[in-house]
Symmetry: C2
Subunit: 364 residues, 2 copies
Amino acid sequence: MANPTLLILPGDGIGPEVMDQVKRVIDWFGDKRGLAFDVEEDLVGGAAYDAHGTPLHDDTMKKALKADAVLLGAVGGPKYDNLDFSVKPERGLLRLRKEMDLYSNLRPAQCFDALADFSSLKKDVVAGLDIMIVRELTSGVYFGEPRGIFEEGNERVGINTQRYTEGEIDRVARSAFELARRRNNKVCSMEKANVMESGILWREVVQKVHDEDYPDVELSHMYADNGAMQLVRAPKQFDVILTDNLFGDILSDCAAMLTGSLGMLPSASLGAPNADGRPKALYEPVHGSAPDIAGQGKANPIACVLSFAMALRYSFDQGDEATRLEQAIEKVLADGARTADLMGPEGGTPISTVEMGDAILSAL
Amino acid sequence: MANPTLLILPGDGIGPEVMDQVKRVIDWFGDKRGLAFDVEEDLVGGAAYDAHGTPLHDDTMKKALKADAVLLGAVGGPKYDNLDFSVKPERGLLRLRKEMDLYSNLRPAQCFDALADFSSLKKDVVAGLDIMIVRELTSGVYFGEPRGIFEEGNERVGINTQRYTEGEIDRVARSAFELARRRNNKVCSMEKANVMESGILWREVVQKVHDEDYPDVELSHMYADNGAMQLVRAPKQFDVILTDNLFGDILSDCAAMLTGSLGMLPSASLGAPNADGRPKALYEPVHGSAPDIAGQGKANPIACVLSFAMALRYSFDQGDEATRLEQAIEKVLADGARTADLMGPEGGTPISTVEMGDAILSAL
Ligand SMILES: CC(C)[C@H](C(=O)O)[C@@H](O)C(=O)O
Ligand SMILES: CC(C)[C@H](C(=O)O)[C@@H](O)C(=O)O
């Protein structure tokens, strides 16, 4: 049988540096665990723009659609800030999400024991935190039409459209309920049904999917503003949070920051399963391209490595191997290995990106 | 000269209880400081729906438009959850905002020294926190058309429209810059210009207003998701945050929760100044109607009292009297008076809503 294929898109900023460590980890699983992948690499974001004048070349798009999983580093940087909207690095990522139809974005916000002191929140509020945000990723105001800046009378008006069909809500709701069953069986769905009709439809469809097919999962609904408050006040009340594209963007970043260590958080973006049960999938760290430290060898590769662990679990049905990798990382942290972003109140000498890669490999 | 007029709309849940204490404070300023107001009272939200079948009667709307300032308690409650969207309690509030054209919503997130332990954040992260969110309140996705739930093929689609004109952005930006000049002279504007064209226009207009008329104010721009993170990570980096209606809803609640004491936070919603320089204005606490404790005499009236202090400052040019009231409240807190919501880790016996009113009056 042919090896499964991985498309690697390191992207911009610290993307390439952290991805280098992931490649070592991938090789390790091929050598030591008999999990060989056919790996291809390509450009995305500013790197693609520099080479081709577009943040995602059509050929790359085709490769992504064919690959069994895509691993992405990060996109964007100040160099590209003044580019036209249509060719900004972000458009490359958004095109991947849309054309791969990756409607379910899984963003764990997990607080690592060894790092509980890093949070700006009190330790007892976040220690042991383990929530999963399921964010709809292919629709809503990110993609709705009409959109643009138009002339109206003698001034301009900026317009975007929030738009959700029943089918779009239904499918992402299912993915949240499925996930909850494998976790603590609780879903809290967030919208602004008190203000937006799209939120009313969202609430109604989520409730219907629940009542018809997931009555065993505990479901609650919360307005998104209250959701932001509750995340800050008492995040451990949540298990799975289900929300739309824009609310998910903000709430998942808020949740991520609760853990205090953004350099630790992976994400998975999943589409519909294909014939062999494997979903279209893209994995990427939650952190961005961090242009301020790019090229200095200080970036923390863990979020990107953990994104590969998510790939093992969600794309390749290798939950045990994913756990092996996650445990290696916990060990590394427990042993005190710290990149610069993980320098806590206690101080210490940071290790480099490569040294963190070394540590992970030796823990494996 | 006639007394200035106040329209009081206690609303639902704990609204009436907390407003009762505000009325005592208003009387005190009339008796002791020669600041007499002509006070009228009316219904809003569920209370108005129960009486008239609408969450805001046209007569009330007229009174609000005529009043020099409106004080509102809170709207909403589970009793009204199943009402049609068009008559939900929230619609009453939204109609007031829209028809009074209250485009600039000021939401201070301030951490009171005596209460710094209440925050779920570490004390050093929030002690002394004093930021002001300026939220656009009359446009954006809250009011944009088209909106609704429509049939499309064989399914339904929920649609809302995010919409900002240059003029709408310009005027709220000005109010943020004006405020910043009276504070620490810094504005951070938040949107999603990397994803939404309305955000691009927002950023451009804010920058233009700055460059033309407020070059002395320090201006920065931030994506709203990063804004949520930064609020959690290091909120004291901000002075004034300027943002749109929907982002403002979420970010201001997030900011409010950083302080740990929602029962303490007031807000002001201001429109254009009229001939005598007084803006159309509505003042309300940030907390909601808290149906779970309504009618039990336990609610904290401070946020509502502080909303009246904002009225003194922003509507009646009585900054000194506002400060007098704010200082009385700080004294009450320093003396240890605590309603149930302010029972911290150290415990103690909570006082009632009325007792807190008593304490404020005697501190005055
Ligand atoms: C880079 C940007 C387009 C993106 C988004 O807004 O979705 C990012 O913030 C994210 O959350 O993945
Ligand atoms: C009650 C509701 C309509 C309102 C809003 O969404 O604006 C509230 O959350 C607020 O922030 O004042």
